[in-house]
């Protein structure tokens, strides 16, 4: 049977319906995700309630289907992404093929398992879980791997000849606060983007570039500090592993020495010295704020990190488009963690290959 675009879209829509069904009765799922991710219950609820892409237009799904192509078989390796990312990953695979096998993340398998189970219950028999999937055993089609560069390289090395590997690496988001932005509004929206998944997603903003002087960067930092304090009360940060606490201690000490740092009970914001190279802060609600005299300065400052930038949130999308890598997703601040379901979140593969 020929799989038309309409068929594929219908298959993806059935997957979205499956996602909806598991979210409607999610108490056990929430608990499992809390245990596997270390996120707070409120953090998991926020992610499931607001950041699962259930509403997709036909136009968006058409783009997703076009990206996916037509493949005899897809093996999906979910070694590292945020748990809701499994929906997009499986949707891409399902759009591509009538034969999809999913290897969930060992650390964080609950959402993917539940989703595939729900899809099967809705009659989709072309989708299955294989916890022991060996990429070297995939004989044809594609492997979609989500993980670190090393993991992707390892899968490429082990994949059989003729099997295409589509890698989706780790990355980060940045925020660009334009010259005309109201910093209070920008901070409120940025805080919303920061708290989701405790910044463990590749869309999560970890650096904020502020067009203006140091005083403006400080103003954004102060406002963001207040907003993260406020959000921390209702959506507490989850457990922070010891190695991440160490990274936090180091970042806080560095920024205390270098310029200024605002430390909350569940977050930290470093204000960069003017003109200093950008520092990547650790995840778990850390934001590095840097003033840039102009867009050109912002572009120059960002250049060494550009290859890692997956998403950009800004109040000035035109300005942002001019300075960020072509593959980066652009969105309004506060919408960085709600990308339309129109393809992978990470556009680097399409642009770089």
């Amino acid at each position: 049977m020929v799989r038309t675009a309409a068929h594929r879209i219908a298959d993806v829509r059935r997957l979205l319906l499956a996602a909806r069904t598991i979210l409607e009765k999610r108490a056990d799922l929430v608990q499992a995700i809390v245990e596997s991710t270390g996120l707070s219950t409120e953090g998991v609820e926020l992610a499931l309630g607001s950041h699962v892409e259930l509403e997709a237009t036909d136009e968006e799904l058409s783009r997703l289907v076009a990206w996916a192509g037509d493949v005899s078989r897809v093996a999906v390796v979910l070694s590292a992404n945020v748990f809701v990312g499994a929906l997009r990953a499986i949707a891409l695979a399902r759009a591509a093929s009538d034969d999809v096998v999913v290897r969930p993340s060992r650390r964080d398998p609950a959402f993917a398992r539940a989703l595939v189970g729900a899809a099967n219950a809705l009659g989709d028999t072309h989708l299955r879980i294989d916890e022991a999937l060996d990429v070297a055993g995939v004989q044809a089609g594609e492997i979609h791997v989500y993980g670190r560069d090393e993991t992707i390289a390892d899968v490429r090395a082990r994949a059989r000849e003729g099997v295409r590997v589509r890698g989706h690496g780790s990355g980060m988001g940045i925020a660009l606060v334009g010259a005309a932005a109201d910093v209070s509004h920008a901070a409120r929206a940025l805080a919303d983007d920061v708290v989701v998944f405790d910044q463990r997603g590749c869309l999560s903003p970890r650096i904020a570039l502020v067009i203006g002087d140091e005083a403006r960067a400080l103003a954004l930092g102060d406002a963001l500090h207040a907003e993260l304090d406020r959000l921390g009360a209702t959506i507490p940060r989850g457990d922070v592993p010891k190695d991440e606490r160490a990274a936090s201690s180091r970042y806080v000490a560095t920024m205390t020495y270098a310029c200024r740092v605002l430390v909350g009970s569940q977050h930290a914001i470093g204000i960069a010295p003017p003109g200093a190279p950008l520092v990547l802060p650790p995840p778990y609600r850390h934001v590095h704020v840097a003033a840039c005299a102009s867009l050109a300065d912002a572009e120059q400052l960002l250049a060494p990190l550009a290859r890692a930038v997956v998403s950009v949130g800004s109040d000035d999308l035109e300005a942002a488009r001019a300075i960020v890598p072509p593959w980066a997703r652009l969105s309004a601040l506060g919408r960085m963690q709600r990308p339309p379901l129109d393809g992978p979140v990470d556009g680097r593969e399409a642009k770089l290959r």
Binding site: G85, H168, S170, R200, S249, R250, Y257, C259, P277
Partner: protein, 359 residues
């Protein structure tokens, strides 16, 4: 203090007193350090224990100036090697005399104390003219001047500006030293020695009796990586030396002091244990709390360096260490760079961004 060390005399002032005085001096001149002390809850006016002095992370050297003096007084700036994102740490000095005196004194103690006359010294590295901002090259140059017999630069610094190792020049220096029965001192980085070993293959370069090798530093992607014990064995074989003649050095751009394995002159000292000069102390600290860990436990190295007069008296590295032997005199083991936090999700890990493996 260096003079007292060289004369085997007691230190003129206690270590803790000097360290705390330096912390006060630096806090009075560097706003960032004063801020760090306040944030750590340390009143520098009253601090008396060197271990309590807050340490400046090495990252700070990449994002801001770490100096007590204005830029126009800078005599030399040492820079760290670059990372994949291009940032380099900078350590400015207005006077290198103290650095040189300390480096030579402690280098002599563990590398050259038995030399009764200038020796053939070769550096598997570029000449200072090609790496003017490298503290390691600067130190090697100081050793060449202090311990070395006169020799042209081209037969002393054996890596050219393009990174090519001049094996013929090395061969010639070795031949002359063998003919004169003069023990040699060979200085180089781990990756330079790996290239050397690869170039030599199964052949050997027998060095004169009594020769020794100082090897230092990591790899930073500039050669294949070789476990320390393997590299030591390889070098011992290639140079026909005992393994105890391969002396590890530990130092970094952000410091003014160095540390050495005692293997050459202390038969009881195990391989891999580094000695501190009386003007520097390595304190393993918990990477989260930044407080000292119990003796014998692994922590990251907080280096209290009294020679960092104009920069940071205490530096927080990313290297894992463990103190061994008697509490104040035993030394420390160097256990490699602390692994970065692994990615938990798809947000990029700092190590991955910097192109460092693992994590």
């Amino acid at each position: 203090m260096v003079a007292a060390f060289e004369a085997s005399a007691p230190a003129p002032e206690p270590f803790d007193t000097l360290a705390c005085d330096l912390a006060r001096y630096q806090a009075a001149r560097i706003e960032g350090y004063a801020r760090l002390c306040r944030a750590r809850g340390i009143d520098v006016a009253t601090v008396t224990n060197a271990d309590d002095v807050p340490a400046v992370p090495t990252d700070a050297f990449k994002v801001t100036r770490v100096a007590t003096f204005p830029p126009e007084e800078t005599h030399i700036t040492f820079r760290t090697s670059g990372t994949t994102i291009g940032t380099r740490g900078e350590h400015a000095m207005r006077d290198v005399a103290t650095y040189d005196a300390a480096a030579i004194a402690f280098g002599r103690r563990w590398l050259a104390r038995d030399f009764d006359k200038p020796a053939p010294v070769v550096v598997l590295g570029p000449p200072p003219s090609h790496a003017a901002d490298s503290s390691l090259v600067h130190m090697c140059e100081a050793f060449v001047r202090a311990f070395g017999a006169p020799a042209p630069a081209e037969s002393t610094y054996l890596v050219d500006g393009d990174g090519v190792l001049d094996l013929a020049a090395f061969d010639e220096r070795v031949a002359i030293a063998l003919a004169r029965a003069e023990p040699m001192l060979v200085l180089g980085t781990s990756f330079a020695f790996v290239h050397f070993v690869d170039a030599v293959g199964k052949a050997s370069f027998d060095l004169p009796h009594g020769s020794r090798v100082m090897q230092t530093g990591g790899y930073k992607g500039r050669s294949r990586e070789v476990p320390p014990a393997v590299l030591r064995a390889d070098l011992a074989r290639v140079f026909a030396l005992g393994e105890r003649a391969i002396v590890g050095e530990y130092g970094m751009t952000e410091l003014s002091s160095q540390f050495y394995e005692r293997t050459l002159f202390d038969e009881a000292s195990p391989l891999g244990v580094y000695a501190e000069p009386p003007w520097a102390r390595v304190v393993p600290v918990d990477p989260d709390t930044l407080l000292a860990v119990p003796h014998g436990s692994v922590g990251i190295a907080k280096v209290i360096d009294l020679m960092n007069i104009d920069s940071a008296v205490a530096v927080l590295t990313q290297d894992q260490v463990r103190r061994v032997g008697p509490e104040n005199t035993g030394g420390f083991e160097l256990l490699g760079r602390a692994p970065g936090a692994p990615a938990r999700g798809c947000s990029i890990a700092i190590d991955e961004l910097l192109g460092r493996a693992g994590g």
